[in-house]
Symmetry: C2
Subunit: 195 residues, 2 copies
DNA sequence: GGGCTGACTGAACATCTGTACAGTCTTGGC
DNA sequence: GCCAAGACTGTACAGATGTTCAGTCAGCCC
């Protein structure tokens, strides 16, 4: 079989290296070196750096798309907790994809725009469902509520280096830290900060 | 007087161009062209690109630092609203600085790390003060509450291009949108989303 | 075995990058 | 009026960047 081992290892290296150093400011040569491969092979497989980024987008999105696209049967605040834990699980399993997506979202790759749309649409649908069930306060700004969900979940990924260096004492995607994060989000969304 | 007009216009151009296209991936030459000046002059004034970034950090931070460092006399939730409106005012007055800071925070410039520390320390102090006054729920995770504050306020700046293109129909820092944003944040922090 | 397809490489390319340097033009102090 | 300081420019350079190209090698089909 014509091994696609090269191709796969390039994508994996791209997620790792782009996630760590940014997409625009990391060169094809760095990716190639990280994959243990010649720069020309990257072009051979993906046509251009743009093509490589598209492939990395695709690879990073896999898993999250299904976690967000799937219909849920749970209801009310339980739905919220279920979604959160689902996302957290995917995040913990694929930290390189998370680091990459965090970068991609702020650098505006085509794939990240797709993720954003997916999440906003999903989030909005969820909010509307909650509203219909009367679980939402009536004066809620639904667009901004959706965006707030998005920020609370995804911004930490984009700020990961800053966060880990200045505020946390370990990796963000470690089990314990991840749990604190998820619980803090659920707390805030359900009851607010003040009493 | 030996005009420092060149210097100032370079910093202004840097905020604009770096804010729009990212810092790492925007060249000195682009900044120079935007300032109507030769690339060599940029080096003359700032020594290197690193020096220019430091100057841009400084320029962007001015205003926010005072808004955040100042002691406040208001109490309780009013303090929260006051701070929010103060921040919003500065943001509205200096949109280029905001776009720049949004980028700087995710690219990890030294100045942005300073801003982050400033905000985290300020935020934590505020949370502690609220806790002492009994305004905080006791089981609140104070570290993550501080971080949530930070994300709700600053993440939109880093996601600005995505946000404006995919979710909003105008500039984020326009009066009306800014007000909705601030109100949504205060709502969420005070009472949560659900009832 | 012969030939084809596709993974893979090394060397080369034009261009862009940050920066250095030598020199000119402007201006304020004497 | 002169001079020194510093704002400012054009040119040049070494290295990095994305991409091209000719060519080698391994495995599959006939």
């Amino acid at each position: 079989m014509r091994s696609a081992k090269g191709r796969d290892s390039i994508v994996a290296a791209a997620l790792r290296v782009f996630g760590a150093g940014g997409i625009d400011s990391t060169s094809l040569r760095e990716v190639a070196k990280a994959a243990g491969v010649s720069p020309a092979l990257v072009v051979h497989h993906f046509g251009s750096k743009e093509g490589l980024v598209a492939a990395a987008d695709e690879a990073a999105l896999a898993g999250f798309a299904t976690a967000y696209g799937a219909e849920q049967t749970a209801r009310g605040p339980d739905l919220l907790r279920l979604r959160a834990e689902q996302t957290a699980r995917v995040m913990q399993e694929r930290p390189e994809a998370c680091a990459y997506l965090g970068r991609a979202l702020v650098e505006g790759t085509p794939g990240s725009a797709r993720l954003f749309r997916l999440m906003i649409e999903g989030g909005r649908a969820e909010i509307e469902a909650l509203a219909e069930r009367g679980a939402l306060r009536e004066d809620t700004d639904r667009l901004w509520a959706t965006l707030q969900h998005f920020f609370l979940i995804w911004a930490p990924l984009s700020f990961m280096p800053l966060l880990e260096q200045e505020a946390l004492d370990g990796p963000l995607l470690e089990r314990e830290t991840l749990d604190r994060w998820v619980n803090a989000n659920l707390d805030l969304l359900k009851e607010g900060l003040y009493r």
